[in-house]
């Protein structure tokens, strides 16, 4: 069988063997959680609790800060002890609400609608918006916004992203194996809300068990299918996945809805199912804690806000000298200075590399070897963009595709001169954004 794929890309070793066959375990209830107000793209959530308030697990503690935003919920029951800046899983310091648990894990009242698919569309949308769901693959786009496309952009296809192309990460893989039915329910909910005609689940070929299981479960569904994809990074990038599965090209600067497609991560589909059927807010997720120096790599179902240090402790600590702590996957994740940051809604993995894996080679002159050009999945000239940003020529950088770059890191992965291409491109993006703001 010919596997579907996209042009460009790289083939890093997937390193999934550490945790791919380890069933999901429940992370013990943390003594305190840190709920960042910015776990998504868009306006930060606005706190509606104050220090000293008693909260229940699942209780709303911050509301959406705008149209493109989400509410936040307490993930354990206890008392709000601080609203302050805390370490954020993206490596920065950001405002968060700290809740010290009472150890009882008392929940707000949940419902159970076994006929959840018969609910009115607006009710389904409201439940998803109220649950504070954002994309759980990493980018964190508010899900409710994706479900409200303008009337002139009809959606005919919903793709669930089970690609998990980032090396090391296995949380989506395990979720698809162990919670396949809820994910399919989530897909059906999405089809109903968007009035779409077909649903697909894109899965990379290195997860044959997940492909087989989903195929078996979808065998009787005429409008739902599994799309096995070639092992190639960044296969799970939204535009690349859409192209591989449907041959449609999302226009530059546009959203997938422009070509009639909505993409949701499989973890998001699971959260949607729980939100719609049980009105359960998004307060826990599966995260892979893995890497060569984690004593027992695991896939953990952890409450949002659980400090990373507790996850590592539950995995038996470390088994060697840690060189680098990565929040997310190793291609696009953030290196952290310590394990103080908490699990957020987009935290798909925590990867610990040993000292040798973390070592880097000094940067040299660009050779113009054009490897970055050959593999760029967006068909850009990464080395020229970086050079233009270095030379403070933003116009040239924009011409070479600064805005189209999604920072997948493929270019820096293959650069024989070890130039931090993504860092330079990101610097250019930040400067460009500043310029645009200054012009306004």
């Amino acid at each position: 069988m010919r596997l579907k794929t996209f042009p460009g890309g790289v083939h890093p070793h997937d390193h999934k063997f550490y945790s791919a066959s380890v069933p999901i375990e429940i992370q013990p209830l943390p003594a305190r959680v840190i709920i960042p107000l910015s776990q998504h793209i868009g306006a930060p959530s606005a706190p509606i609790v104050k220090v000293g308030d008693e909260v229940l697990a699942g209780q709303k503690i911050a509301e959406a800060g705008g149209f493109v935003s989400i509410p936040q919920h307490a993930s354990i029951s206890g008392k709000v002890t601080k609203i302050d800046t805390f370490p954020h899983p993206s490596g920065i310091m950001a405002t968060a609400i700290e809740i010290t648990g009472d150890g009882k894990d008392t929940w707000v009242e949940l419902v159970d609608d076994p006929n959840f698919l018969d609910l009115p569309t607006q009710e389904i949308k409201d439940r998803i918006a109220a649950a504070g769901i954002c994309g759980m693959g990493g980018a964190g786009f508010p899900t409710s916004v994706k479900l409200s496309p303008p009337a002139d952009k009809p959606i005919d296809t919903v793709i669930l992203n089970g690609v998990e192309c980032e090396p090391y990460l296995t949380s989506d893989h395990r979720l698809m194996l162990e919670h396949s039915e809820p994910i399919i329910h989530g897909l059906k909910i999405l089809l109903k809300v968007l009035n779409a005609r077909q649903g697909m689940i894109g899965i990379e070929a290195n997860k044959p068990d997940a492909i087989a299981l989903m195929k078996k479960l979808l065998a009787s569904e005429s409008n739902l299918s599994v799309v096995p994809l070639k092992l190639q990074y960044p296969q799970g990038a939204e535009k690349q996945l859409i192209y591989a599965a449907t041959r449609r090209k999302v226009p530059a600067g546009g959203l997938p809805m422009a070509v009639g497609v909505v993409v949701q991560n499989v973890g998001t589909a699971f959260a949607i199912y729980e939100a719609v059927r049980y009105r359960k807010p998004l307060v826990e997720r599966v995260i892979a804690v893995t890497g060569s120096v984690v004593a027992q790599p695991k896939n953990l179902k952890a409450r949002i806000g659980t400090p990373f240090s507790e996850l590592v402790a539950f995995c038996g600590g470390t088994s060697g000298e840690v060189g680098k702590i990565i929040s997310g996957g190793p291609m696009m994740g953030f290196a952290l200075p310590n394990l103080d940051a908490p699990v957020a809604k987009g935290s798909s993995g925590l990867v610990l590399l040993n000292v040798k894996e973390a070592s880097s080679i000094a940067e040299r002159n660009c050779l113009r070897c054009a490897r970055c050009v050959d593999i760029c999945p967006m068909n850009l000239l990464p080395s020229l963009i970086a050079q233009a940003v270095k030379g403070k020529d933003l116009d040239l950088a924009l011409k070479c595709g600064l805005e189209d770059c999604m920072k997948c890191g493929s270019c820096a992965y293959v650069c024989p001169a070890h130039i931090s291409l993504v860092q330079w491109i990101d610097t250019g993006k930040i400067r460009h954004a500043e310029n645009l703001r200054a012009k306004k």
Binding site: V322, N338, V373, L381
Partner: protein
Amino acid sequence: MKDKYTVSPAPHLHDRTSIPNVMWNVVIALLPALAFAVYYWGWRSLWLTLIGVVAAVATEALIQYLRKVPVTVYDGSAVLTGMLLTYNISADSPWWLPIMGSVFAIAIGKQAFGGLGNNPVNPALLGRAFLLASWPSLMTGNCWIRTLPHKLSESSINGISNLSLIHANLQGVSAKAYDLVTSATPLKVAQTLRDSSFVNTITTDPATNLDISGKMFKSLFDMGTLRSLFWGNVGGCIGEVSVFALLLGAIYLLWKNIIEWRIPLFYIGTVFVLTFLFGGIEGAGPSILLPFFHIFSGGLMLGAFFMATDYTTSPLTKNGRIVFAIGCGVLTVVIRLVGGYPEGVSYSILFMNVMTPLIDKLTMPKAFGRVKK
């Protein structure tokens, strides 16, 4: 756990290639050609190559030391330049010739512009052009062919005898012509036969002249000569003669993903097509074997796989590489068929090197999802 970890921007993985890795792999890919040179022309090829390499490395180290920048001669790039430079001279060159070339290539061709990655043209080819301009008699003419008869196999004898036949024919009719071609490369023979002022001196009868020159021309691309050209049993420079050895290295580089297929394919393809269409002479009709003579002879294989593909001096864009390669091919054929030199590979590449920034500018790719305006 300790309290200090590496914090660096993503990606946190790398495919572990590096500049030394790339350069040393190209050096490895050039070794089969050196082995063939030693086989045909003796150990002198090896000594000359070593002298060229040592001169290049020493020049680079000295200049980097004087410039107070890190000395990076271990990365293999100076070794490569020295090697390619020496591959472009003949095996019986004086020992100081590769030194002159390597010093010029590294000092003026590379370090004067800021070192690796900044040179506008291929340093080894610039070094060759310098040698050709300074010591033309050593770089062309009589010193090109030196085959060792005792090492010839039966098939190569067949090929050689065809060339000898040409020489014998020429000797029989014109002493002047003999001087021109006795020790010439096959391309030089082809050039001479294309020259009507020479052809008309063979006999007094124009029809006989055409007949003879046509026959001689055809013998350049019969199977025997092509076999000689393929194995390298002909006159030429140290590293350029064995198509077989160069293809071995080229396959290695393509397999290792160090060079990309576009430049060699379009360069050689252009030469093939153009020489098929325009390569014939009066008295010898078109033949599908003629383009093989052109792509197998001279420095085309060495140039197309090892020099035109030089990272720094070839275009970044994919379409630009095609334009660049076709440009190289057209210029090579123009120089070979109508120019004053029998061979045009090195000047073609040098010329297109200079065009590279312009080509890049004109072939900027459209990003995924961008509509062509």
